[in-house]
Amino acid sequence: MNLKKIFVIYKKEMLDLVRDRRTIITAFVLPIILYPLLMIGISSMMSRQEMKLEQQELVIYLNDTIHDETSRELIESLSQIETLQIMDEAIVYNEGTYLDLLQDKSIQALINIEDSLSSSGYRIFNITCFYDETSEKSSMAYRKIKDNLRDLEEVLISKRLEKIKINSEILNAVEIKKENIAPPEQMVGFVVGKFLPYLLIMLTISGASVIASDLIAGEKERGTLETILVSAARRDELVIGKYLTIITISIITVLLNLLSMYLSFRHIFMQTGTNIGDFQLPIGNFVLILLLMLPLITLFSAILLSISTYSRNIKEAQSYQMPLLFGAIMLSMVSFLPGFELNIGFALIPIVNFSLLMRDIMMNNFQLSYLFIVIGSTLVLDVITVYISIKLFHSENVLFRTAEEKSLKFWGKNKKDVLNIQFIMVYFVIMIIALYYIGGSWQLKDMMNGLIKTQLLIILLPVIMILRISKADIKKTLRLNYTNPINFLLVLIAALPLLLLSGILGQIINHIFPVSEAYLEILQNLITVQQEGLWFTIFVVGILPGVCEEVMFRGFILNALRKKGVWYGIILTAVLFGAFHLDPFRFLPATLLGIWLGYLAVKTNSLFVPVLAHFLQNSLAILITNYAENFSFIKLIIRDDEIAYWVVIPSVIILYFVVKGLSTLNPKTFATVEEQDLANGDKD
């Protein structure tokens, strides 16, 4: 790579962008005018609104059912409130009509005064205040009435105490005093730290996304890409030059945004007479955060660059940016959530780590080691993403992708076109939505019954229907083939080691991301024998998923995805299988299990083998959880609900031999149904 060339490219891109009205507006002008307008507009509107509310006439109806001295005193007290206008006393208390008046906002509150006697014979005033929480005016009326009556209550109490000659000071048994020891900077940090990460992450992406889509996808669209590809510049130089451009513009955008935000805040504080000294941002921490933004900006720039390289035109790039934007927004919002503390696990999750670390920094309460982990892990991701961009930039398929290639052809005339990858993806998304909404609500109503319905109606039935409609050969597509019985024996041998390994993986994940006890209980419940009995539980949690999920994943989905390569199919199917569990903590174990099941399906060319393996996994988990005490050897392995780590070694050794056995037993694998037919001499 030649640095001078990179600089030439960088300079040209900057010049080009600075002349672009769109860039100027979104990256520079918008932040400068947005905040002052927003803050000044909102604050002046709010204060005006509040003043208006304060001074507004509030009309209330009073319904006094007592008519004695005290109730008149009460009404007298209420009438002391300025701006509160009490309408003539209603003659009859009729809930329907007055509530209607309240609803159509002709009155703001309705007060009903009754009295009763307490068990020890004291008189209690029961005052009901009807108001409309969604109306600002009505809520204001309620607040004023409540405050007024609280004061009155105190007066009444002290009068009663006086009557029986007790000093009202007797009521002050405990006095609570609030003394906030947090210094003002920390208070500001606490407040600002919650929303600042979210804001900064948003700003970074929004600034970078516009130009990133223009830089490569835009060149494709305008037909200038080929001219620079044939120039003497190397492709990595082009990518890096453009990458630096995105980073520069992002930094400028973020700085401008922050500066503008700060100045608008200042302006408002000064206007409202708040002492700016009290609200001084902790400057040192602020600078640290700005420095921390650098790796984050480089990461976003790299991702946006990859998206831009992959896309055919600006529009496509922008639609690919949307999921990134949504994902980033959701992840960055963890700083709003209580109970999320930075730990080693979160420090490795992009965006979440920045969000939490920035919050901690703003509160002056962070660990240096996490700072290094966050920056280090981000830089690693950075390098990987830039590498991907350069790789993409070298890929002919990506640079010269044509339109017709991507057309969604679900139901082609050709039989083998029907179940293609696009179709599977759409199918999978629909299934996952159905699982979440329909299956979820079934299971909430009745766990076991819901699970049965989910497996049969959401997981199994659609597959069978699609296969029937597309007239595919069900037996061939799902690979319901005869296989050597020794394969089943090998799966049986592998079952326990696998379960232990996945249990250990689960343990490690739990250590890194501690989950709540309540959540663990739900999981535990799932594999605890219900009152219906052991065999019923094994049927619902073992046999049904073993059959239905295997038909869907290792039968139907894998069949479609493996056309692009066996391992591509196995891994992608496994990832979908992991995602299908709708649980981030179970994603990794489920995906790894999915790879094993996919491997079995491909190796033995029979769906029956993964069905058995899946059934064994689930059923063994039930058996061990419920009957561990009965087996002395399991007590050796599992103590205090923790699996001993030494079992990894024998488990891996056993698995190694099982895999070896499987490979010798089944030397041939078939990528597609056609290949399989050819091998069987079937000319169909």
């Binding site: 060339k5 030439v8 490219i9 040209k12 010049l15 080009d16 002349r19 672009d20 305008r222 037909g223 200038t224 080929e226 001219t227 620079i228 590809l229 044939v230 120039s231 003497a232 510049a233 190397r234 002919e396 640079l399 010269f400 290639e405 050709n414 076109d417 056309k563």
Partner: protein
């Protein structure tokens, strides 16, 4: 000089079939020679030219340009090459001068020679009037001149033109044709692709006819006439296409 040896490009289509976009293409193009790749749309002309300009990787075979191998030394191949196509875009927000300067720097033209070189180009192509105007405000003809200047700023010994006149009006197209003649006079090796028979007939020293990725025939226009006994290039082309389809049967 360009020496192409058995150049082949296979695309893997989504239906799993392989498409031979360029199939075993071989020819040579000498200094001061204009070689025309002639073929209908989809014959593989653009794919061949993209391989020669190192944008696409050949599946098999190779080529050397000025002695540099496509696969082993793509960097030097590009440095010795000017590339111009009919649909290449320009950066709308840069001026003509900025555009040409940018490419001069990418091609490692020494910084102190860039201005002189741009002046030379402006004299040659008569573009002094709009040198400092933004591309956005230029007419199609002016843009085409900027594209030409951009492609030749580093004075490459080889020029590749991929359907440069496609979609251009007759006056603009004429500019390009006269520029191609100028390249030949300067002793450059010119490779030119087109699907317009007349165009090929007019400027080619040598014609390489390709169809469905394969070479139908190559030689001079005079040779073709002699070999086929026909006088019209259209007829000659169809004659060769028919020949190859007969062979297939």
């Amino acid at each position: 000089m360009i020496i192409v040896n058995n150049l082949t490009k296979v695309f893997h289509q989504q239906n799993g079939e392989e498409l031979y976009a360029v199939n075993d293409l071989s020819f040579t193009a000498d200094k001061g020679e204009i070689v025309v790749l002639l073929g209908v749309n989809g014959a593989g002309k653009t794919t061949a030219m993209r391989m020669l300009s190192t944008v696409l990787q050949p599946t098999a075979g190779t080529a050397t340009l000025e002695g540099y191998d496509l696969k082993k030394d793509p960097q030097n191949v590009r440095a010795n090459l000017g590339f111009l196509s009919g649909d290449t875009g320009l950066y709308a927000r840069l001026t003509a001068r900025e555009t040409i300067t940018y490419f001069a720097r990418l091609y490692d033209v020494p910084e102190n020679k860039i201005d002189a070189r741009i002046n030379e180009m402006a004299d040659l192509l008569d573009m002094h009037d709009f040198l400092d105007k933004k591309i956005d405000f230029l007419s199609t003809g002016m843009k085409q001149k900027v594209s030409i200047a951009r492609s030749i700023i580093h004075d490459p010994p080889i020029m590749i033109f991929d359907e440069p006149t496609a979609g251009l009006d007759i006056l603009t197209a004429k500019n390009i044709i006269s520029f191609i003649h100028k390249c030949k006079e300067d002793g450059k090796c010119v490779l030119f692709s087109t699907h317009i028979m007349r165009e090929a007939e007019r400027i080619a020293d040598k014609i390489v006819m390709i169809h469905q990725g394969k070479v139908l025939a190559q030689g001079s226009w005079e040779n073709f006439k002699k070999d086929t006994g026909l006088h019209d290039l259209d007829d000659i082309f169809i004659h060769y296409v028919n020949n190859i389809t007969k062979e297939d049967v």
